[in-house]
């Protein structure tokens, strides 16, 4: 055993740190309200900032935007441990960059797409030319994702799409929908779904904002009214979309904002010291508990990366990682507001608000952490069924 980074890993970590320091404005980390684990305060969704855009393109030039892709498609073919190091450092600085296209779509296309699809989409994704939004959820298909009803019907060289998606994060600042549609209603639910890429500029698409409880416009409801899409935009085989979406869960395993927890915790710790509250045994106990939780979450994170590099399937570890990290999101917010007391209630912009009101916004955004991308209940079902071999209740 050896819990240290190798010299190469250490060097890469330093390289990422240096890069961020050089390319991201120095006030970014303080001013970003991004809450680790939450979906309501992701910086890119509230509107693209010039500084964030510049950083994203610099990542792309470096081959780091779609870091998991092979070099021939514009990535840098890094190991899982290196990807983990990269994401840890990025989230520690609350840096913008990777999104649905790079984290979910690119590896899916690489594994299941045709050569033509790979050539068409992967280099553009790696260059940062295009952004995707995740078009899975519908009003009646939340946890029960296979219940989607949005239809795609063949008409000549095209498919014609009718239906509605919802909780569509970032749809308003993206170029394409990465979308699940029902292509064969006669088949069992899981076996009649296809994965397709839809241009946001297509006629018949209406995007309506939904304001989340943090007051941010992060997600939308999106309506499709006779939207025509070329058949070639289907990824992989028709009616196999459900299985691709499930497989994509494996690609997202290391996309946990682990560094964000550490950063936010450090800021809380600093505030407690500066405001001379460190002598309270109650506060000491609460902070110690958080430090322990974060350390445990880190271990699940590195363990998952290590297993993936050895070709092992981290079924339990990865689901536990997601569960631990999101529950940590709520615990961190709650503890922070408790420790800060009345100061924790102040929103950003209010006189006296500490840390730009981050903890107050976090108390709201942490609600989304255990709901988005598979609720905690679904995560526990996955742990029980995939990890422990229990039957579906």
């Amino acid at each position: 055993m050896d819990f240290r980074f190798s010299p190469q890993e250490e060097a890469f970590r330093q390289e990422v740190d240096d890069f961020i320091k050089k390319e991201l404005p120095s006030n970014w980390v303080e001013e970003s309200l991004y809450w680790p684990g939450g979906y309501g305060t992701i910086p890119d969704f509230e509107g693209l900032s010039p500084a964030g855009e510049r950083f994203r393109l610099r990542l792309a030039e470096k081959g780091w935007l779609a870091i998991s892709l092979p070099k021939e498609y514009g990535g840098s073919g890094r190991s899982h441990i290196e990807q983990a190091i990269f994401h840890e450092r990025l989230s520690y600085q609350r840096a913008p960059g990777p999104g649905v296209a790079t984290l979910i779509s690119a590896p899916t296309i690489l594994q299941f797409g045709s050569d033509e699809a790979k050539r068409e989409w992967l280099p553009r994704i790696a260059r940062g030319d295009i952004r995707f939004w995740l078009a899975y959820s519908e009003p009646n298909a939340g946890s029960d994702m296979a219940a989607i009803q949005t239809r795609a019907v063949e008409d000549g060289e095209d498919l014609v799409i009718d239906g509605q998606k919802t909780w569509s994060s970032g749809a308003h600042v993206s170029d394409y929908a990465w979308m699940l549609v029902r292509t064969d209603p006669a088949r069992p639910a899981h076996k009649g779904i296809s994965l397709i890429i839809v241009d946001n500029k297509s006629e018949g698409i209406t995007i309506r904002p939904l304001i989340n409880i943090c007051g941010f416009h992060s997600f939308n409801e999106v309506f499709f009214d006779r939207v025509r899409v070329p058949k070639k935009n289907i990824i992989g085989e028709r009616n196999r979309g459900w299985y691709y979406a499930m497989a994509a869960l494996d690609f997202e395993r290391l996309v946990v904002p682990i560094g964000g927890f550490k950063r936010t915790f450090e800021e809380l710790l600093e505030w407690v010291k500066e405001s001379k509250r460190s002598d309270s045994p109650v506060i000491q106990n609460k902070l110690a508990e958080l430090a322990i939780d974060i350390d445990v979450a880190y271990m699940f994170f590195w363990q998952t990366a290590w297993m993936l590099d050895r070709g092992l399937m981290p079924n339990i570890e990865a689901s536990v990682l997601k569960l631990v990290a999101t529950e940590l999101s709520r615990k961190l917010a709650n503890t922070a507001v408790d420790v800060m007391g009345h100061y924790g209630e102040l929103e950003g912009g209010a006189k006296w608000a500490p840390l730009h009101g981050r903890m107050c916004t976090g108390y709201l955004d942490c609600i989304s952490a255990l709901v988005g991308a598979g609720t905690s209940e679904i995560q526990r079902n996955i742990i029980a069924m995939r990890g422990l071999g229990f039957p579906w209740a």
Binding site: E345, Y363, S376
Partner: protein, 377 residues
Amino acid sequence: MDFGLSEEQEMLRTSARDFLHKECPKQLVKQLDESEKGYSPDLWEKMAGLGWMGLPFPEKYGGGGGSFLDLVVLLDAMGYNVVPGPFFSTVVLGGLAILSSGNEEQKKEFLSRIATGKLILTLALTEPSARYDAASIKTTAVAHNGNHIINGMKLFVPDANVADYLLCVARTKTTGKPENGITVFLVDSKSPGVKCTLLKTLARDKQCEVVFDKVSVPKNNILGGLNHGWQVVQDVLQKAKVAKCAEMVGGAQAALDMAIAYAKERVQFNRPIGSFQAIQHYCANMVSDVDGSRFVTYKAAWKVSEGLPAAFDVAVAKAWTGSAYGRVTLMGHQIFGAVGFTMDHDMHLYYRRAKAGDIMFGDSAFQRKIVAQELGL
């Protein structure tokens, strides 16, 4: 033993809930939450017309002659409907303090005007230390030509932005024990030197910074005697904690009712999500939290209402209810999933108030410390 409400109290609860359901829809709640003022003068007038503002005051001061327990029943109903506005500040923090500690003249002057809805009051207690102990009172009041001159800053003062009078807790003696040098002043908010800044908070509860810059207050406006102010504060804080619990009990019940209704109606995997054991267990945990909160809160309220020693019970109620309301609304959010994460939904109104209610007058950890003291630790 009798754990039930009286017939009159049941009627008050039902009629208050019905009235608020009709007159204070959630659309109005959200609108008021986002407004500067934070209350509707129209609704305020109607509430006064129903006798709510004067409920716990004797009839000779224009009140309804009700008990503290009656007021708790009303606050429970108000919490259920999350009514924005300075009712709590005026009636509990201002009115009950004057009722307990004021002289006859002060009671006559203030209570009758509170009862008719003509006066808004609040308590200016905490300072930048944000603590609720006597040693944290740094604002000073110095005698000068028969008046007192107040200097200092109060922070996290609820509803000061609309208050006509502030009960300002100031230090009048710097020697001896911190508890023995404090005086409460009734300060006209329009006095020269009073400056109020509204702070944007999690629960939109209109907390303010209030600066007192050489504010002159006549001697007659001392409440409860010179250097006897901490007793006034202790007395009103005890009632305020129970009153806040009552609001939280109502709010937690509402959150539970909403979540149960949704769990029965929302279908996923071809059945209501309420048929899944995970969701059932959440609801079971919520109902034990809500019922537990109600029991400890009403016990504390009854003791306070009867004038019995209640330090232990009040701390237990605040510690338990403050935490429980948070757990209940968090579970409520979990049951609602993504739709609960939208501003248009109502659950966040409760979730925000749960944290604000827990923090106000000392959070659960602070209350547990009092419980430990009461246990002789």
